[in-house]
Amino acid sequence: MALKPARRPPEAGVITLGLLATLALAYLAAPLVNLLFAEPWRDVPATLSDPLAIGALETSLASATISTLVIALGAIPLAYALSRWRFPLRWLATLLVYIPLVFPAVVSGIIQLLLYGPYGLIGAPFAANGHELDTTFTGVVLAQTFVAAPFAIVAARAAFEAVPTATEAVAMTLGATRWRVFWTVSLPQASGGVVAGLILTWLRALGEFGATAVLAYHPYTLPVYIYVQLTGLGTPAALPLALLSLAASVVAIALAQLVTARSRIPGVGAPDTAGGRL
């Protein structure tokens, strides 16, 4: 005789958790949903024909992309080193990585301005030759790189830590150099997390406002231009731009979800590595 599954009302704790989760989601969604009904839509065509807005969007897309590439070049090796090597002052390196995350973005901008500005240690020689690092496209990239780098480093580090060291060890015994092991064993296994981290990094760079505004107010990025419109003309002028920014973000988030979902490689070998679901 088959047993019928007992039909029981969900536990009170489950209801509480579900309620809180729903509240959190509603809190996050409310401003966005409100925006969609705030009728800035009819101004979008006008905004798209505003050369300043288009210029700001172009600057944002280009600078965020370049920043992300620069970050990838440094963050991936740094994340690998932090996950695999034991070296002196490693704890300090770990701490440094988090600094841009905990500093207010404005502060990140100020300390960079001190270094890259016309009187800064690095900025002065450039400025003397007519290549200011601040208030230029380079300045925008510098600001975004500093602020967005932690996202890539933290994500890539977690991804490398999840790579079984045994696979790297085996590759070495099969005659591979450490360089080859990195490219053919470590990075491919970490690629999902690394790419997801880079997409987040790109998003962070795209949305960067505080540090950019301090270090490179010009050329306008989209967030800076939105701020300019907001302070000059008020909300109605800023809202269509906000929609533009929102659209770019949504596309990138969807992309990130897609990449991380695809990269999940099931465990190999030992049955004890198989994860379970509650």
Partner: protein, 429 residues
């Protein structure tokens, strides 16, 4: 103190660790290493001749660490590793060959297949460049591609997985993954092969099936192999040569049969499933007849005098006996009156007396727990507390049991043939 009968290697008598003499001949692997990992200290020295060597030991004995040191995956503090006469590591001469140049393939316990590569990709990873592995040319030239595909197919046939090229590691069963890992290891044409607990990740029925396959594949490949295991049955089924490791030391070494028959220490005896380890209270020289041994239970027996070695004064000894080789004989009540055994022990054998305390039916055999008589009460209380000294386990077949017609509480003599009982050095706390 002189001792007879048992042939102790001298190196086990002290705490200095095993350091066997380097034997002549260059074939195989010779290891003498010293390294620390946290509070664990590994001081292993042994040889692995061509063929299959099992590195047997309980968990935490340092087996995997030894394997990693041989593979070049963990640095050695001091010592030397030579393979077929070539020094891979020699700290005195400053030699430390990196793992990738040792030509020693290593299969970890988890197999560590590359999850992002197909079975063919995994195997190709190990192929030498001239067979199309590890080079861009190998992927570009069609001739190379063909040669590589041919070699991969060959290796997959060897491990009995023909046609598995396109599968991915996630689609393999445990046994299949293990054989792919083996094929990948052999693809590199290694000079030696290291397997860390090759069967432990498999369920019991698969393990049985794979074991014979594994032996056949390794034999067919002709590559000298060192296999780590904690399972005596696995070592028995697979190995030609045995190295027993306990707590970072090599406690026994030799051909499989020879090593299993002559554990030098109590930890080795335990590892080799010599179930009975009885502490010895003292040993004294008899008048020409041999050595008189007294157990802590007070029972005495005599070993024939064949002095072969010295045991340092104060070395603690134990009597190790194989439960499955003991013979249990009934003692009638009247034969107890004179304390001489009515049935003399087998030549060179040992005879002890006791009372059957418990009989457990284990299916194919009965397990008897026999409480030893105590002619002199309380000889070495401390030693008794350290080990279960007052009991002997003997196995007997149901038919023997029926013939004996005994029951719990019966008095028996336990007779051990000479090759089933040994004096061993007590190296356990």
């Amino acid at each position: 103190m002189k001792l007879g009968e048992t042939r102790f290697p001298l190196n086990v008598s002290g705490a200095s660790g095993a350091q066997p003499e380097q034997k002549a001949g260059v074939d195989g692997l010779r290891v003498a290493i010293n390294l620390r990992r946290g509070s664990f200290h590994l001081r292993a020295a042994f040889g692995a001749p061509p063929g299959l060597t099992a590195l047997l030991g309980p968990s935490g004995a340092g087996k995997s660490l030894t394997l990693q040191a041989i593979a070049g995956l963990t640095p050695v503090a001091s010592g030397a590793i030579t393979l077929n006469g070539v020094a891979l590591v020699d700290t005195k001469r400053g030699i430390a060959t990196p793992a990738r140049l040792r030509r020693i393939s290593y299969v970890p316990q988890s197999y560590a297949l590359f999850p992002h590569l197909s079975v063919a990709g995994n195997i190709a990873y190990g192929l030498p460049p001239e067979q199309g592995g590890a080079s861009w040319r190998g992927w570009l030239k069609s001739e190379m591609r063909e040669r590589r595909a041919k070699r991969i197919a060959e290796l997959l046939r060897l491990v009995r997985l023909p046609g598995f090229e396109a599968r991915h590691p996630s689609q393999l069963s445990g046994g299949e993954a293990q054989r792919v890992a083996l094929a990948r290891a052999l693809a590199a044409e290694p000079v030696a092969l290291l397997l860390d607990e090759p069967l432990s990740a498999l369920d019991a029925p698969t393990r049985e099936a794979i074991r014979d396959d594994l032996r056949a594949i390794i034999a067919a490949s002709g590559v000298p192999t060192v296999l780590v295991t904690h399972d005596l049955a696995e070592a028995r089924a697979l190995a030609d040569h045995l190295v027993a490791l306990c707590d970072g030391y090599v406690v026994a070494e030799g051909s499989l049969a020879e090593a299993l028959a002559s554990p030098p220490t109590s930890s080795a005896a335990r590892l080799f499933a010599w179930e009975n380890i009885l502490p010895v209270a003292h040993v004294e020289r008899g008048n020409g007849t041999g050595w008189h041994v007294t157990l802590t239970s007070g029972q005495k027996f005599t070993l024939p005098a064949t002095p072969t070695m010295d045991v340092a004064q104060g070395t603690r000894l134990a009597l190790a006996m194989r439960a499955e080789r003991l013979e249990v004989r009934a003692i009638s009540a009247e034969s107890m009156l004179p304390m001489l055994p009515m049935l003399p022990p087998l030549p060179g054998g040992i005879s002890l007396r006791g009372v059957i305390q418990r009989m457990t039916d284990a299916g194919a055999y009965y397990r008897l727990r026999i409480a030893l008589d105590r002619p002199q009460e309380g000889i070495t209380r401390q030693a008794e507390q350290e080990m279960e000294s007052g009991f002997v386990t003997a196995l007997c077949s149901p038919r023997e049991w029926a013939t004996l017609g005994l029951a719990t509480g019966a008095r028996v003599a336990i007779v051990a043939p000479a090759d089933a009982a040994r004096l061993v050095v007590r190296d356990e706390v």
